[in-house]
Symmetry: D3
């Protein structure tokens, strides 16, 4: 069960007024593939589904709950960045600025979108945030994973926080508003924490003897074809790929050496599919010959 307080985890207020074009882009880290909605839902579902020791479950729900607050901060920020639109544009026209001059000669519909804002922010959301990315594509449940295996999921989480911090940093580069940067410099730091957190959690789960590499470690190794589990197959002409740490030396899982297969060849034959029942109406069997009038059936 959850509770809410009205203050936000950190400040979420623009310093310079509205900027609907930036608001559009900021949607990426709210409702995009690696936005805050994704980590929020991913951590909550992993926590609710957790069958492991209590410390993992509690930790997952802690951070999942924190992330709801990040979605909240971004929503507030976006709503404020949209706030004085479209009045800003009217002001630009009246001021006689260069931008205003350009806008002035246009039809209003063109004027309003000269700023490349997301039209749904106005038409559908009335200047509020939405669960979408920067192209207006909606958040979907297929973005997240709760696999029932914590090591696999902690790797998913480390990836999410890496992609997420990368995107937040890029949003920082795109920003000039000091209030936006203030909020982002908090969120980027939390992403730093969370990258560290998942690394530590991966160490922790291995130290507890609960899993290992290859994950899932509790699948008997003798059931996999071990002669190919250390081979790098060179599928491109040229061997630059032989220069990396993945092509030689000890494997990170400590179970053997990497080898480099410079000219891989197929281990299987060409499959030949068999015929199917007539009720499938495929191509192979044709009980009734088509028209023999050759001039007719040729019309593709």
């Amino acid at each position: 069960m959850f509770y809410h307080v009205k203050e936000t985890q950190y400040r979420a207020k623009p310093a310079d007024g509205s900027d609907p074009a930036y608001a559009r882009k900021l949607q990426e880290i709210l409702g995009g593939q690696f936005g805050e909605m994704s980590v929020m839902m991913q951590y909550l579902f992993q926590g609710w589904n957790c069958r492991g020791p209590a410390k993992y479950k509690d930790m997952l729900l802690d951070i999942g709950t924190e992330e709801i607050g990040h979605v909240e901060m971004l929503s507030y920020m976006i709503a404020q960045l949209l706030e004085s639109f479209p009045e800003d544009q009217e002001a630009a026209v009246k001021s006689g600025s260069m931008v205003g001059e350009v806008l002035k000669g246009h039809k209003p519909s063109e004027t309003m979108m000269a700023a490349a804002f997301n039209p749904q922010h106005f038409i559908a959301n009335g200047l509020g945030a939405a669960p979408n990315d920067s192209n207006g594509y909606p958040w979907v449940g297929r973005y997240i994973i709760s696999s029932g295996n914590l090591l696999a999921d902690f790797r998913a989480n480390l990836n999410a926080e890496s992609q997420g911090r990368l995107q937040a940093v890029r949003m920082y580069e795109l920003a000039t508003d000091s209030g936006v940067r203030d909020m982002l410099h908090f969120m980027i730091a939390r992403d730093t924490m969370h990258q560290n957190q998942w690394m530590a959690a991966i160490e922790d789960i291995i130290a507890e003897g609960l899993d290992g590499t290859p994950c899932p470690f509790n699948f008997p190794l003798e059931k996999e074809m071990q002669e190919v589990s250390g081979q790098f197959w060179n599928h491109s002409r040229g061997t630059e790929s032989a220069e990396g740490a993945w092509a030689q030396g000890e494997r990170p899982d400590g179970l053997g050496q990497f080898t480099y297969l410079a000219s891989p060849t197929p281990l299987g034959d060409e499959p030949v599919l068999g015929p199917v029942a007539p009720s499938v109406h495929g191509t192979a069997k044709m009980p009734v010959p088509p028209s023999t009038d050759e001039t007719k059936p040729y019309l593709g």
Copy 2:
């Protein structure tokens, strides 16, 4: 540019004939979120977009090309598992087996789906594979990431191979056909290789001084709010989460210590959104009062 040979990377042939219900489930590791189509497209796009040293680009395209062959193997296997359907069912009815007895009394439409196959395998695909998961949901481009940052992407790849191997192992557990298990024991081993490969690639990229944790490392640390970049915030009542490696001791990035914030409180105020222009037709401003006839407007 790509070339094809007709033999498959490894054998892909069922030993015991058709099993359309298993074919349905096998679609998960072909066209699901973490199926072979995902790693194939993810590695190819990362390779094509690669601006880093040639060894990374070549390696990405090697493995991406290998994965096309995995999609190929799964497609052949699924087409064969569907092959003698629906004749198997007719045979069961004729044989008088217990299953046949049950099917016999049913309408044909029920009979055919008693095996819980995917109806599209028959209706739309004519007993062939499709780019869908085990629920018939199509593969989508949003499953993959090519971020332009190799460390972030290698973490995505390690996650993909962990989730992917976990799913392949579960498919192995669900299988009894020795031909299916033969193919899977090869694919699981390749997943082991690829988990190791991405770990080695992560080591490699750090050893080359190209990136580090927190990723992206080339964002100046002083621009993030460093006082919160090591804090664990306890958002759930109870402190089981304090017992993990993420709540104390040195951070994996080597940049400081973890601390545990047992009772986190907001650092921001409650945001209050301002009014918007009348053209938005929101709720706050109402220049024209609604009908004063109290009995009418109440009809929600």
Copy 3:
């Protein structure tokens, strides 16, 4: 900012052990179009975007926070309904029951899906809940609306609670497990509360003079074509539709009478589209004549 306590809002525990087929169906009211994820996200976004009086914003965030707890309850319930699978099926086979007899003769893959469970619950989620509906289709952000107009949104909410309660009632009818029914009898009651709540909120917003019917009421009525704003147009042959309250008498908005247009005819002409630039490569303009060899171009 949000907080979590580990206890659930109400009990969420099955009485009779696992039932993976019911778990599949229960996903509908978790991640379906009108599931708890939809009301949770809809109310939270409406609250964060709210520019109206504080009582509305606070109320929206209260109920949005409550709904996170409903998603939590359903997730726990689903994870438990999946728990002893696939051991239940092995037990059925061993017990020699009629069901066991049927399953026994089947291949394991068929056996496991004889229960019509969702294969992703096993393969992708390791016997946990997921943000999907009963067909495995993921929750999408386009399910919800936060329009910036509270009257419109409260009507959306009343609809969501009506469809939601209807679906919960149907799930109750499908259930036999007393623990499942116990949880549902709580959730159905909350849906009753929430239907009432949105009705009261609609009354409240009209009583405050903030909006009315037609919504949005602050669009000047003289700008709409008022001569057709009370007409029912009979587009089907037959006039049964004339018998309803929408075809005669006073309009609910108090602004006039309904009239019944038995034989509507077009008020506009047939539009004729003009030609477009040659660079569009449409059909209308053909500067270069196609082959005059009549036997060739006919190949469609």
Copy 4:
């Protein structure tokens, strides 16, 4: 069975020539979540699925048929708004206008999109309308509902006409072309009619004794947990939500009083999930210990 006449229900012709940026936005009320395609398909499916009295079915099919004509009007309008593109832009450049000056210096590709049009209108649709919203996201069947319960569905319809009219009004505000506004002033009036219609239909269905609040009314009230069906739970710190009509006084369904629960606490315990079978390869059980070589497995 359906018939078509070539004239449109109302005029659909722009007065001032093409405006591809407005055409992009106009797609929202054609193929968006609450566009005309949604009400068209929603009413038609509700009509075809209707098991209630004939007046409801006939009415649903009347309005569903009318809405096909609204999709038609919008399609014609969009095709005309796109018509003289890209020639308009070439004219602007030649005229030496301020806009033309800006466009002149650009590459053609930038020029053409300076107007923020939807690139698919040119590339995929050849200057015609498409079943998409203003961000190019396609219409999806999950937008609509036909639940088999008419009261629930009429509430869905009232919501659709409220959101729809709100969006049409916003499109009116964005428009300057008198022909566009002429068409919209007709469509907005029809939305007014349809809001009234669904209100009247809700009254009608209750007057007929066919349903009521809470919907569905034919679920025995004693099966729901009536002690919580009138309680408002305050999940946010602060009690502004106590000031609304939903927190006190008689419930709209006439079945009791609202009460305000200022400090709600959980009624359930913390669920603890049990272990699962080894074949799931989750985290809890680990028959084979991972490598004891501590330097190896730590590679996350």
Copy 5:
């Protein structure tokens, strides 16, 4: 503008009562990729966007309007096939039939899904049709095309009617109900008509000199690289592909001969991407070296 009559284009009534499993599958040709909703929307949009001669536009709207009636027939059929569910199953249990025996021992939730019906037909749609395919995946606007080029679109239509007839034929094979087969034998015949219709329309448009192969024919042939426009490139080892009509002889467009390139080689070089700005935070540039503490940054 459209009109409706209550009778259906052809009979749509099952002879043998309900069959919810068949109803699920029948959704494929209602709301699937090549279902009737697709041709309905495709022909209507092509008609509304048509800038060609009136005969094409009128024809497109004729058939588009006919297809609305096909969606109608399928909706009615599905609603009837669902009608007596779940009472049929109770009857089976009471009758003591073999199927009943199996169902009897099951939990009700398993019983109800033993028939592999679509759970949303009960939970969400109350035993009515929905705009989904046989896996419950919703119809999406991306299924259709209206390109502004009639020859391209008529080829799309010929494809749609070919895939559509193929699927209808397969549904016929799956059916035993004589009423279902009666309806399908009408719809299959209409598909035959429509295949012929689009072939004739392709001939017509070429005979009118409006387009040709390669389509669009009004793109000057000298702008394409004509030396490769007749070459078959053999990308697979082995030359079975040389045996087809596409590898030798005159091209169908009459513009030259096919040639067979047995060993194709690249005509381009390997692209090498350049560096990007530091604000992208990619991998290539790393102004700040990562931690030199070798034991730390290795945690992937």
Copy 6:
């Protein structure tokens, strides 16, 4: 199994540096409905599922493999078109050009999107290509078909190459960069080849006696309702549609004559759906009357 060489099938290099707005649009023919990813996946799946003669299977895998190389070329081109962004814009500002003047006065966020680029190209992809269309909508598996019937599929392929060539030609019209046009003039020529190829393949399959029109030809014609398989039904008022080749004369399948039904009438009755079980909680049955307090239940 597949192999890769690093050179591209043809040159893919822009001549004039970056053009992020064009890069956005170019995504349409990479990851759009009829982009290269669609033909690549369509031909590969058709090849893997092929049960017909070897020449068809080999040919399908040849062209499918070729198309991977087309996706590769487009990816490289897009990555290069994005390459010097955002430095180009800074240069424009510094140069004092008219465009620079306009950009100078703007906030950076507006500046960067003044070029109408896709924000995800920067935020999510770090200036690389992605499997999306020109509106950022992801490629989905539902775009393609592999039906198990080669004639139907070759028609799908002919359509794909027609729409694909049309879109490539439009991209050519939008381009000014000579390197872009060079690449497109190669791809357009390949589309010409592939249109011819599928026409020849259609001829070939009919010449082999494997199928015909109506497709699938192996469904006995006497099972379809042959009296309507040649009728054109005129569903629109007016008879312009009688003027086409589809309304008179011999049918292309050679099986009869077209006839024109000027005034089609329904052949079926109005379906009347029956009542359903009370557990459905529909509208028809209402065992418990709703509140008789007339002032209450009216709140919709």
